[in-house]
Symmetry: C2
Subunit: 476 residues, 2 copies
Amino acid sequence: MKHIVSSLVLAGTTLVPDTRAATPPPAIPPEIRRAAEALREKAFAGTRATEWVRSLVDTAGPRLTGSPGDRASIAWGMATLKALGFANVRAEKVTAPFWERGVETGEVTAPYPHKLFLTALGGSVGTPDPGLEAEVIEVASLDELGARKESDVRGKIVFFNRRMRRTADGAGYGEAVTVRSRGASRAAKLGAVGVLIRSIGTDSNRTPHTGSLRYEAGVAKIPAAALSNPDADLLERLLRGGKPLRVRFTLGCRDRGQTESANVIGEIRGRDKPEEIVLLACHRDSWDLGEGAIDDGAGCGIVIEAARLISGMTPPPRRTIRVVLFANEENGLAGGRSYSTDHEDELARHVAALEADLGSGQPIGFSWNAGPSAEPLVREIASLLEPLGAGDVRSTGAGGADIARLILAGVPLFSVRQDASRYFDWHHTSNDTFDKIEPESLDRMTAAVAAFAYVAASVPEPFEKIPVEKRVLPRW
Amino acid sequence: MKHIVSSLVLAGTTLVPDTRAATPPPAIPPEIRRAAEALREKAFAGTRATEWVRSLVDTAGPRLTGSPGDRASIAWGMATLKALGFANVRAEKVTAPFWERGVETGEVTAPYPHKLFLTALGGSVGTPDPGLEAEVIEVASLDELGARKESDVRGKIVFFNRRMRRTADGAGYGEAVTVRSRGASRAAKLGAVGVLIRSIGTDSNRTPHTGSLRYEAGVAKIPAAALSNPDADLLERLLRGGKPLRVRFTLGCRDRGQTESANVIGEIRGRDKPEEIVLLACHRDSWDLGEGAIDDGAGCGIVIEAARLISGMTPPPRRTIRVVLFANEENGLAGGRSYSTDHEDELARHVAALEADLGSGQPIGFSWNAGPSAEPLVREIASLLEPLGAGDVRSTGAGGADIARLILAGVPLFSVRQDASRYFDWHHTSNDTFDKIEPESLDRMTAAVAAFAYVAASVPEPFEKIPVEKRVLPRW
């Protein structure tokens, strides 16, 4: 036992002996570290995280803002957090955009008839009633579109045909997603009447990937949809054949204005400094096509279970662990915005925030964004996560969509990075169902998040805030 | 060269020296074997089979009997076989069942609302206009249903929840498929109002697998649909929860009586005995959900290309190679029935028949069904296929749905068995698209089929017919 303690004392310091300087004390006191290790081991051996995902998915189903599932999941969140003994369980009102999908059809009309599997991008306007039919022009990127003459594009449907790369860290998503978010307005500026994109996804299923677009102010809003990858392949082949390609599609989607939703919140109260907060986040809403199991039922299972495990700890955490199941991450980020506004007075007392929102893949690293003096503590936490596979520390990739705005108050942001190799096979599709959950990976993620949160809530000196000059919102 | 020839002469005979008995002559004469080996090597290095699949799929799309794609693929078949120089290209009329799918919806209505992804089984009757809603009762098999009391089943929807095993040879399909073909009538006999089956498929996609059912005469016809595997998982979990489970579904499918379709036929005429026929078969029709690339575009690509390669051979084959792209395999087998009737007088001169209808997986073996004296020739053919991975000879598994009836005339039946490990992920779903084609495996299959067909059409002594006592139709 003594040996273990002395090696722990050395953690985070150089192993080269230096008799002239005193060894700095560890950032994590030994008894906190021991407790965090025990917590990690317990969770690694098995948690109830998968149970919470199953319960959310089976009782609420898809949870797009404003839908019956959105409301059912607010009730589910309240009931679940109360049943698990969380304190201050509440639903904080969020006013958020309300968009509905409606009927969707697609077909190639020339040179040969084919049915197309497509789905509206979130926020798209619908097509006129009889649908929209036009010749298709293919481009690989926004830049390639920009190089086209307006006379080539006017009156056409622009087909953005860019394949997403499969990567363990999900980097391929960021590379490809701009055609989804910005393609419609870019095409409209050149007179296009509609947009089809190759799905931002790594699968070969007939399950198109939705996701939000953003219309630029002052530009005509044109309908935009994603084709499944096999359907994009078909258009690509037909275009190579050299005959004019025409497509007809109908989207029944519509903007229904604003609706009321809620961030569901519960806490494990801190013993000594309950007013100081470690925020664990996920998002409760989901796209409408699937069941929202991996996006983001998984994240909710992780953070609820991490906090539940901490509630049984000795010694109890000094600070409060606050779990927030955010509203409206997928199509508006109104939940994150409401939270940062409604809790403005409290943000200076948020010592750390972490969001789990990359499915149920296993942990592969730890990311941080805080003041530079936090680094020794961050490295000690990473060494704690090493046995879970998450010891690789990076100063990029910390945060999450719902907690992004907390950067403006300097709140230190963290992420346990996840293996997302298969995540984008199912992301934003009808295939986001419970069978895609990997229980053992979810246990590992829960172990990592719990160990991090327990340490963050227990150390005497929390992380230095993000320096003022770095308090800038990321650009999506 | 001399050495090679002498080893070829020995192929198929024992390697243990026996000076007392004369070595029997090889069943395949050396010059035929050398030519077949060259053909095999040429095809193994690359063929145009994938090109024919792409062309069929892109120009005709889905090809359910009676659909526009069915008609388009007749025209495609005629034009393609003519362009490739086949002789006697013709479309032989087939009168076949005409069934149309229509709108399909499904939902769990209790204990929690969920959308269900389901699709009508081929041949199912539709539901009443407002849909069908009832409590669900789960059984694992026809036997388990048979053990239920009528009072447990009456007025309910029976959910057949049996998982298909993934196997390289596709054996899991035969084990599971009886609930699809017979489940509806079995359930109706006990008073059920509808049937839902777990898809007969090995995937976890939201893409239900269709396929034909058969109603028993004199039993009420009730609507039957397949749930995607994730949706079947959902019902299974909800049922484990113990609360009554209710489902509502609508099927707009209907029987439209009979329609006209066609077997498309073309030949590579034999030099010496053109009246003797080696039949190479695939089916031109497909289910309506996908594009029919693996089922059975792949088979058509294989047999067309195998015959095309043989058309350039020296020496040319003695007998005629006849390629038949059969109509209506999926929902009636009318193409196979018409062929055996219309060509009755000719069947005694069919020396061999092979059908390719298991996707584009690579060859894993060779199956035969002929008279016992054919075995030495069969084993020499198998040794020819060994470098392609198809040397494993079995006397089971020969034939195919469209050529099955030829057994009644004793026509020797053959199959190049294929690796079907992934075939049933996509079989009869919307995911049956061109991207699932594996060009290299298709080349190997083409090489195997071509080598077999060339030998069958060239050897002096063809296979002994199937013995009279074995001329019995298999039971599906």
